[in-house]
Amino acid sequence: MKKPELLAPAGDPERCRTAILYGADAVYLGGRRFSLRSRASNFTLQDIREACAFAREHSAAIHVTINVIPHEQDFEGLEDYLKELRDAGVRAVIVASPAIMALAKKTVPELEVHCSTQLSITNAAAADFLQKRAGIDRVVLARECSLDDVRRITASCSVDTEAFIHGGMCVNWSGRCTLSNRMTLRDANRGGCAQSCRWRYHLYRGEEDTGMMTMGSKDLCAVHEIAALMEAGVSSFKIEGRMKTEYYVASIVSAYRHLIDEIAEKGRLSEERMRWHTEQIMKGENREVCSGFYRGTAGRDSLILRRDQDDRLNHRYLGKVESVRSGRAVLVTRNPFSIGDRAEVMSPGMPVHSFIIEEMKDEEGNYLERSRTPMRRIEIPVPFEVQPGDMMRRE
C-alpha cells in the first residue's frame, strides 16, 4: 500500500509551521499575487523563503498556488516570480492556466507543476493531454470524482494524482461558477468568491413559488475512504482550508497523520479504531461534513439545509501553551472552561494526553473557578510534560 503525501493548507507562516509540526509532509500556500483566496493572509517572498527553510529542516516541502484563472495583467511579473519561487526552494506550483503551466515548465523546469482542481479533471485522458502538451507532473482531481473514478484514473494516468480528503467543497464545478460575479461583482476565479451559493433562494416553477432552497455544500470528510484511496495509489492527500485557523490545521493534520500512519502499518482498521479516528478529526471541525462524491453523486444530504448548520462555532479549543514552569502551563485562552473540565493536549508528534483541570490562576495570581475571557493568560498545573506551542482542547 502506497503511503501518500499529506498536504496541508496554510494561510500564514504560523499555520505553515503548525501544519509541518503536526505531521504534514507538504504545505501549500499562496503568495501575495497569482493566488486564489485573496482574503487569506498570503505570504511574502521572504515568508516563502522562511517556510521553505523550515520545511527542509523537517523533511517537508512547500507548494505554492498560482491558481488564479489569469487575466492579461496577471501575467505581468510572473516569470520573475517563478524564478524567485525556485530560488526559495519551493517544490511545486499549483496552476490552473495551461499557458502558465507551459511557461513554468519552460522558465523553471526544476519546479514541479501540479494541475489545479480548478480545471476539473475527471479522467486520465485529460491529465495525459496536459502532461504531454503543458508538461504537468501531477493532477489534482476534481472533487466530483467517485472512489472508483479515482482508482481508475490513478491506475492509468501518466502523472501522479492528488485527491482532496477534507475541507470545503464548492457546490459547483470548481472554476465554473460565476454566482459571486453576478451578484456582487466579485470574481470567484480570482479569489473574490462571496459564497453566494450559501444564500437562500426561492425556487419558482413558472409563477409559482415552490419554496426555499440553498446550495451550500457540507464540507468533505473522507475519513472512511482513506484506506481505499491509499490502496488506489493516490500520491497526495489534500486538506482544503487556507482560511482556516491554526487550531483547525493542527487538529485536522494531526488526526489524518495518525490515521494514515496506522493504516500504512496495519492495513484496514477495525470499526472501533475508525470511530476513534473520526472523533479526533471532528474535534477540529466546526462544519457539517459529508463524504462528497466518493460514494456516488452527492445529493440532498450533502447540502447545508438549515442556517444554523453553517459555520457553527467550535468551542472545543481552550488555548495555546505559551510557557511552562515547574509543571504549570501558561495558557493563552480562547474558549471558556472550568475547574473539573477534562482537557487534552495536542503536542507535535506525540499522542494526545488528557487530564482534569483541577486548578487555575489568572495573571494576578487569583484562583479562578472558570475562565470566561479569550486571550487571557491562565496558569494550569498539568500532570505530564507539555511544551510551549502545544494546544489544549476540551476532550
Binding site: 495525459d128 496536459l130 476534481a142 470574481d187 451559493c197 419554496g211
Partner: protein, 289 residues
C-alpha cells in the same frame, strides 16, 4: 466558408466569407429557420454529453455543430469515442470543455473541428493562444470580460469566438440541486430568486447536474461592430431559455447589423418585441478580486 443544412441548401445563400454566427439551437427542430435567419452554423446539444439548457439531440445531422461540453468521467470514454466516430463524416464544429476531448478527437483526425468552450476559463490571450496552438478551430472568450479586454484578445487572437447574445451560464453543478427540493428534472420553467433580490435566474437540471443562467440576456448589437473592427469574426448566440421566434430575431438582428443596419434601431426593435431584460453584461463592469 461552407456550413449549414445539406438537406435544405439554405446555408449557401448566406454571406459567410468573414463574420460567422454560430447558434446553440433551443431545439433540434430549429435548424432550418436559423440558417434562413442568417446563422452560419447551428449547434445542437448532444444528449447526455453536453451541459446546456436546451433540448438535446442524438440523431446526427450533417453540417450541424455539436455541443459536447460536459466534463467526462473515466467510464464515459467509450461512449464519447463512439460519438466522435459518428461525427467524423461531418464538417461541423465540436464544442468542448474537457481537455480529454482534445486527445480523443486527435485519434479521429478531428482536432481542427474543435472549439474550446470552458465558459469561465478563457480570459487571457496567452491561454487562448495556447489552446489555438493545439490545432483547434477556435476558443470561446469568457463572457466575464469587459469589452476592452475582449477587444484586446481579438487583437492578439482574432480566431477567438465571442458569445454575443443569450442568457449566460452562471454555474454548473454535478449535484441535483433542484430535484433535491422537489423540482422535476428536464423542465425549462424553473427560476431561482435570491431572497433579498428581485432577479429570477433560469435554472435547469438533468442527469448531468444543474445549470443556472443569468436573469438577463446578454446583448451586443452595438459592440459586435467594435469586435469586428478588432478582427473578431466568430460570434456565438446561446439559445438556452430563448423562445424560438426570439432566437430567430436575434440571429436576424446580428446578421443585419453585420450587413450594415443601424445597431441602435435593431436593438430598439428587439427590445420592443421581447420582454427579456437585455444587458451589456460585463462589457462595462469589471469584476474585482
Amino acid at each position: 466558408m461552407i456550413s449549414g443544412s445539406a438537406s435544405t441548401g439554405i446555408w449557401a445563400m448566406n454571406n459567410t466569407e468573414k463574420e460567422r454566427i454560430a447558434v446553440l439551437a433551443g431545439s433540434p427542430a430549429d435548424p432550418e429557420g436559423l440558417y434562413a435567419a442568417g446563422c452560419d452554423e447551428v449547434i445542437l446539444a448532444y444528449d447526455g454529453l453536453s451541459l446546456a439548457a436546451v433540448r438535446k439531440a442524438q440523431q446526427i445531422l450533417h453540417g450541424t455543430g455539436w455541443m459536447l461540453n460536459a466534463v467526462f468521467f473515466e467510464d464515459e470514454k467509450g461512449q464519447v469515442q463512439k460519438v466522435l466516430a459518428q461525427l467524423q463524416a461531418g464538417t461541423g464544429s465540436i464544442y468542448f470543455s474537457d481537455p480529454a476531448l482534445c486527445a480523443w478527437a486527435d485519434e479521429y483526425g478531428m482536432t481542427d473541428r474543435l472549439v474550446y468552450r470552458p465558459d469561465t476559463l478563457a480570459v487571457s490571450a496567452p491561454d487562448l493562444l495556447w489552446w489555438m496552438k493545439q490545432g483547434i478551430r477556435s476558443v470561446c472568450v469568457s463572457p466575464l470580460l469587459t469589452l476592452e479586454e475582449i477587444l484586446a484578445i481579438g487583437d492578439a487572437c482574432p480566431d477567438c469566438e465571442v458569445t454575443v447574445h443569450g442568457h449566460l451560464p452562471m454555474s454548473f453543478s454535478r449535484r441535483p440541486l433542484l430535484s433535491s427540493f422537489g423540482a422535476q428534472k428536464g423542465r425549462f420553467d424553473y427560476t431561482l430568486q435570491e431572497e433579498t433580490r428581485q432577479e429570477h435566474y433560469p435554472a435547469y437540471e438533468d442527469e448531468r447536474g444543474t445549470l443556472i443562467y443569468t436573469d438577463y440576456v446578454q446583448c451586443s448589437f452595438t459592440e459586435i461592430l467594435q469586435m469586428r473592427e478588432h478582427g473578431i469574426h466568430r460570434f456565438f448566440i446561446d439559445g438556452s431559455f430563448l423562445g424560438e421566434e426570439e432566437l430567430m430575431d436575434a440571429v436576424r438582428g446580428y446578421r443585419t447589423v453585420l450587413d450594415g443596419a443601424d445597431p441602435r434601431k435593431v436593438e430598439e426593435e428587439y427590445r420592443k418585441k421581447y420582454r427579456s431584460v437585455l444587458s451589456s453584461g460585463y462589457y462595462r463592469e469589471k469584476t474585482i478580486e
